[in-house]
């Protein structure tokens, strides 16, 4: 098991569901969900970017909603359903590759998580633009048009990439 050095373990035993499977872990009250996923569960697809809830690289689903795993103490997911990028259909990435929505790749796991969530909730586009729904995933490389186009493509529509910034 990988863990950042210098942390002591205090016994806080919690159970939750990770990518469809139940798991019970001992966690420290100071453990972030992001670190539990990466270092205890070896689910390293979830990345740390800013560590302050702004960039969205660490996006996972908790009970079906996209959240920043860097801002969640692991004990808060006890009894809940956590899904990471490893749970997605590998085909989820295809529109991103086609539309030039990936470059360095640091933001990609989080971007794909939010995009896949939008794809599962097309009713949100009645009130929200793709750009607004993707606003919590920062990308320093692509300039966003490719990301928005790929979400639109995954949704089976075109033109949703236009509009307000």
């Amino acid at each position: 098991m990988l863990r950042p050095a210098g942390r002591h373990m205090s016994a806080l035993s919690i159970s939750f569901n990770i990518n469809g499977s139940p798991v019970t872990l001992d966690v420290d009250p100071a453990d972030r969900l992001l670190d539990t996923l990466r270092y205890q569960l070896a689910l390293t697809g979830t990345k740390e970017g800013c560590g302050e809830g702004e960039c969205g690289a660490c996006t996972v689903y908790v009970d079906g909603l996209p959240v920043n795993s860097c801002l969640i103490p692991t004990y808060q997911v006890r009894g809940q359903r956590v899904e990471t990028v490893e749970s997605l259909d590998p085909g989820a990435l295809e529109p991103f590759e086609r539309c030039g929505a990936t470059q360095c790749g640091a933001c990609t796991p989080g971007v794909v998580m939010t995009a896949w969530w939008i794809r599962g909730h097309p009713e949100l586009l009645g009130t929200h633009s793709i750009r607004e729904l993707m606003a919590g995933n920062l990308c320093r490389c692509t300039g966003y048009d490719g990301i928005v186009d790929s979400v639109a493509e995954a949704l089976g529509e075109t033109g949703s990439g236009q509009g307000e910034p």
């Binding site: 806080l12 420290d28 009250p29 100071a30 972030r32 560590g51 302050e52 809830g53 702004e54 969205g56 996006t59 908790v62 909603l65 996209p66 959240v67 920043n68 860097c70 801002l71 969640i72 103490p73 004990y75 808060q76 006890r78 009894g79 939010t114 929200h128 607004e132 729904l133 993707m134 606003a135 919590g136 995933n137 920062l138 307000e164 910034p165």
Partner: protein, 276 residues
């Protein structure tokens, strides 16, 4: 770092009464920024509210909307009636971070975090929200516009938990929320304004221009009395009475004052000089 995990509201209130230094934590979107880099800042005991399910839903009654102590921004964004009756709640919620923050952050957390730049607090205050506090000693209600006494100071005793926020249902003839930031999403306000008009009168609430979110009684008086205002500059004396902006990392006092004057003047151009 330590955490207490209550399974019910009474248990949480017992824990708070026995350890008043404990910090209640809900969505964590304010408390855990840069955690665990600032380890020493987090060497304290948290009281985890996340399993207090009765505090989650928002509830409608004949004469009020009651946000629960754990109601999130996303809960309000997805409530169609909230969008119809309290549209400023939805406008503000959609400008708090993005979905990842909206799904975790709570209205009660926004109130007790007491940031002068909060987005949720100004719209709550413009709707005459009342903060509902509970402790083992009983229930107390404090109007939000009297809740803050100074920067990060508020009328919440350490043994009290915010269990709800009450909003009276009224007909509004005017309502607007303005957030001026560096960009539309993921930004912290340089200036925020929430303005409503109902049978109870005008409410003008300003953010990021004083140590607390606050109402602007001098500007409200200009509207109530129908004082003619011929230009944005004409609002500056009233603004100087109501707020005290500072220079900081996000903006300057001068910019904030000018933006507040220009936005107020233009948003309310149909009302200056017309008696309420």
């Amino acid at each position: 770092m330590n955490v207490m995990l209550p399974g019910s509201v009474p248990e949480a209130l017992d824990m708070l009464a026995s350890d008043c230094a404990a910090v209640p934590i809900a969505g964590g979107t304010d408390l855990l920024v840069h955690w665990p880099v600032r380890v020493e800042a987090h060497e304290q005991t948290y009281l985890d509210l996340s399993r207090l399910d009765p505090l989650k839903p928002l509830r409608w009654t004949a004469d009020e909307l009651m946000l629960g102590g754990l109601t999130t921004y996303w809960d309000v964004i997805r409530d169609a009636r909230a969008g119809e009756e309290f549209p400023l709640l939805v406008h503000a919620a959609r400008q708090v971070g993005a979905i990842q923050i909206q799904a975790r952050g709570t209205w009660a957390g926004n109130v007790v975090n007491a940031s002068p730049a909060a987005d949720g607090v100004p719209v709550l205050m413009a709707y005459d929200a009342v903060v509902v506090l509970e402790s083992r000693r009983g229930r107390e209600e404090v109007p939000l516009d009297r809740f803050y006494s100074g920067y990060k100071e508020m009328k919440r005793r350490p043994d009290q938990l915010v269990v709800g926020i009450r909003l009276p249902r009224r007909r509004y003839s005017y309502q607007v929320f303005e957030k001026v930031g560096a960009r539309r999403a993921q930004a912290i306000a340089k200036v925020g304004l929430a303005i409503t008009r109902s049978g109870a009168g005008w409410r003008v609430v300003a953010a990021s221009v004083a140590p607390t979110i606050r109402r602007c009684p001098a500007v409200e008086r200009l509207l109530e009395t129908g004082t003619a205002v011929a230009s944005p500059e004409a609002l500056l004396p009233a603004i100087a009475q109501d707020v005290a902006p500072i220079d900081d990392i996000r903006s300057s006092a001068q910019y904030r004052t000018r933006v507040m004057a220009w936005v107020l003047y233009h948003d309310l151009r149909d009302f200056w000089g017309k008696r309420a």
